[in-house]
């Protein structure tokens, strides 16, 4: 009896962990992924401000960690500003941070010349994908300069789905052995737009 009780408790406790798939998390925006069953949802958080919703997922895909964020509902022009501002900040993080006071000189290590970030624009089934790839160190922060023994590649992609009024941000890091953008684009291709 006692054994069964703990078994039931264990099933009840562990059931939600395995039952909430990627597709179920994305059901609110009516989007599915062809590899949903193979993707482990490691962490899932959601929030809203009364007008919009925000979903943040940490996914395990084979040996990769992929971060996925969804912001919805959002108007196309707002989504465009959101993506533009995100890229602006990302690209700026590779430059010396400017100041409003002339003469405040930043001598930040600058990786722009040795490892410039690459902005790639692609189309996947008429969806415009903007992908920024860059090299970084183990901190994984954009703008941190890698060295020989400490080199990671990070990719961030944004895209907007008009019919779902949702903007997506996907982020992945690889340790330099595989191609970050290839992994990221491969994952995006799994979405059933």
């Amino acid at each position: 009896m006692k054994k069964n009780f703990f078994l039931i408790l264990f099933i009840l406790y562990s059931f939600p962990l395995y039952s909430i798939t990627l597709d179920e998390n994305l059901r609110v925006v009516n989007l599915e992924h062809s590899s949903s069953k193979d993707v482990k949802v490691l962490n899932s958080e959601s929030s809203n401000d009364g007008e919009r919703n925000f979903i943040s997922l940490k996914l395990g895909v084979r040996n990769l960690i992929i971060n996925l964020e969804v912001l919805y509902p959002i108007l196309p022009e707002k989504a465009e500003a959101y993506v533009k501002n995100n890229f602006f900040l990302l690209l700026k993080s590779f430059e010396s941070i400017p100041t409003p006071y002339v003469g405040q000189i930043t001598k930040k290590q600058n990786c722009l010349t040795t490892n410039p970030p690459q902005l790639v624009q692609e189309f996947d089934r008429k969806v415009e994908l903007k992908v920024l790839s860059y090299f970084t160190d183990e901190s994984r922060k954009p703008g941190s300069c890698p060295d020989k023994h400490n080199k990671y590649e990070g990719c961030q992609s944004f895209f907007f789905l008009h019919d779902k009024k949702a903007v997506f941000k996907i982020q992945v890091f690889v340790n330099g052995k595989s191609s970050c953008s290839k992994e990221l684009l491969g994952f995006i291709k799994g979405f059933k737009f």
Binding site: E45, S46, S47, N48, D49, E51, R52, F54, S56, E69, L71, I74, K78, A79, A81, Y82, N85, N86, F88, L89, L90, K92, S93, S96, I97, P98, T99, P100, Y101, V102, G103, Q104, I105, T106, K107, K108, S139, K141, P142, G143
Partner: protein, 457 residues
Amino acid sequence: MVKTYIQALIILVLISACATSAKKNTSSVEVKTKNTFVLSFCSVSRKFLPIYSNNSTYSNIGRVFSQSLVFMNAYSNVSWSNLKRYFARESWKEKYRKYDQKNELPLQVWDSDIIHHTFLRVPAVENVEDDISDYYDDVRLTSVDNEFTEIANLMKQAASGSSNISIVHFKLMHYPYLTDQLYALMLKSQVLEKSEIDLIENYKKNFASYPDKKIFFQVLFGFKEFTNYFIKNGTRIDYTNDHDEFVNWSKSKGQNVDFALLEKVYRFRLGVLDKLVGKIYDLYKSNYENSMNFVITGDHGEAFMEHDNLTHAGIPYDEVTSFFYSAHLSGQTKMQLVHSQVSQKEQESQLSFLTSVSSVYSDFDNFLISNEERSSKIYSFNCAGNIAAIRQANGWKGIYNLISDEFQLFNLNNDPNEKVDISSINKTIKMQMQTNIKFKLDRLKFNNGTCISAYNF
């Protein structure tokens, strides 16, 4: 028959005209308005001032506070801008329509001439760069006494206009930068309390003899020549406003900086400011008390290494975003503390409101609440726009690095100095704040200039 009809028509028209006139008379009750004169000071850390601090010695500023509304919770949205930039926004006009509809405020004047004067005054000559001139209208070499003469003229002009707000913006807490030697000498002289006018005259006299003439405005602590001067044993640092780099530097070299001396210079400079405020307030009290309101305010604070930083553009912690703000209403004799949380964007509407107040409000907090002029959430950004903060009126404060995704959460009720990050045990609040900041990202307008603009708020 026709004649009778015309007569009746004329009578009807006359009755109608009288009725319209009577209606106009009842709705055009003249609202007694007063001008508002605003002294705005750049880079004043309120933690050294009376009321905000228990042991402040700046008696003139204290004298103004003792007969004013004193805002205890005023925070800036961007720490490199001032009121002028907020008044320049288009959005404020829309916001004040509600007052216009109530016939409470003379919008027709504000639309054309809300800012009577916005001047920058510093004891230096400025090599005006493009993006700096965008911030300030006028730059000139001056001294406290010269300042006072100028201010007396401006105050006279401000009082003679009708229903307007006049703002004078000072950068007394900023220092000019010339060369290491002259600059260091100047600071040293100030610490030794040499007279301000002598310093200025000396500066003017020597200025032409320096070949590079490279003068810039700088935040007091924000550049390497100043910091070098205060580093013992001649240790040099490369100044940076990059937070991570600065933290690393301060961990290794911070112990060599003479912060006591640095603070002494800052306090000396505040004494100059206090003296100027006292002279201006006396002038106001004896000549314009009955016709004008008198406001003194800051635009943002300064970091004194509370969070490993000596500048004010890099991080949105409270020591950087907080500013002092007091409004003496014409005829006011007692101090009233205002505890509602407000940001600079509310300041513009409050100042506008003050022009319509004919007597001292008995409960300004209540006014702010009933008119939704307080901020339940204040968003602040660093210069680059990549670090954002939300300060909630209920005491929660979040600081979010939008690029590295690092988030810090503080409960200001228990931790007013923002020292203990409790984000790991308050995940729901953290997530909500992160979301709110992310939602801001489609509303901000980044330009190609140095900092994100105050127009965003």
